[in-house]
Amino acid sequence: MRFNSDEELLNKLSAELENLDMQYADVSIPSLPELEQLIAAEAVERRRRRRKELLLFLLLALVLLGIVIATLSSAPVLYWSLQALFLLTALGSLGARRLRLRRKES
């Protein structure tokens, strides 16, 4: 089979793909009750997943809060030093980024 133009090739390709479609015309389509059941099961699974994620988030938040309170009550100097360090690091990186952008623009 020789194709001299793209058009010729594309026409043949479309015809063959249509033929392929026809061979799968008898695809077994899920029934409505099956699909409704799947939708219901999926909704239950989604709710379960969301609840699990929320629980995990709350647990993590509690652990973090516990650590903060424990550090604040047992070693307040360390706590405030860390707070200051984080703040300075964030401000420093923001400043450096702005400086880099300004240099790039100029």
Binding site: R2, L13, L17, L20, E42
Partner: protein
């Protein structure tokens, strides 16, 4: 899109499971046939069609009607297929090739069992990479534009253009070589 379809979509988005089931059932043959052509593997097409349906159930509220519902479905299906191919990349190459070969054999068997010829064109199409096959299929069989395909597959339209061109060149080369 007809009014009836829009109404069903709107009902499905409001949580009407029966409307969603009807919508999915109506589009299932279209989805499955797209996947057969994209994957050339009936079992894989069925698996991805089911995954697409589940994803559609999760995301139905995010469908904004900017494209046809069928286009939205094949966008989800294409992305799921790409994800699956990426996961396969981590497996041994021979395993991937074997799975692909088995899929093509199944489609070929379907033709032969009905006394139909497995054409050179489909054979050449099965030897394209899945990325090129999907690009050629979406452009020249489904008639989407390069920009639309780019959005569907989350790639620049220039990449779509080069995949389509490379896919067609590959097909022409294979088919002309067979002639020699």
């Amino acid at each position: 899109m007809g009014d009836g379809m829009l109404e069903k979509i709107s009902q499905a988005q409001q949580g009407d499971a029966a409307a969603l089931a009807v919508l999915l059932r109506e589009h299932y043959p279209f989805l499955y046939k797209y996947l057969i052509k994209a994957t050339l593997d009936p079992l894989l097409a069925e698996e991805i069609a089911q995954d697409t349906i589940v994803r559609c159930m999760e995301k139905i509220r995010t469908y904004n009607g900017s494209s046809a519902f069928s286009s939205w479905l094949i966008t989800i299906a294409s992305r799921l297929y790409i994800d699956r191919k990426r996961r396969w990349k981590r497996e041994a190459k021979w395993q991937q090739e074997q799975a692909q070969e088995q899929g093509i054999r199944r489609v070929r068997w379907r033709f032969e069992s009905r006394n139909l010829e497995w054409s050179d064109v489909l054979d050449a199409l099965s030897r394209l990479s899945s990325a090129q096959r999907m690009a050629v299929l979406l452009k020249h069989y489904y008639g989407y534009g390069y920009d639309e395909i780019g959005e569907m597959l989350e790639i620049p339209s220039g990449t779509v253009k080069s995949r389509v061109a490379a896919g067609l060149a590959h097909l022409r080369k294979e088919l002309n070589e067979d002639e020699v």
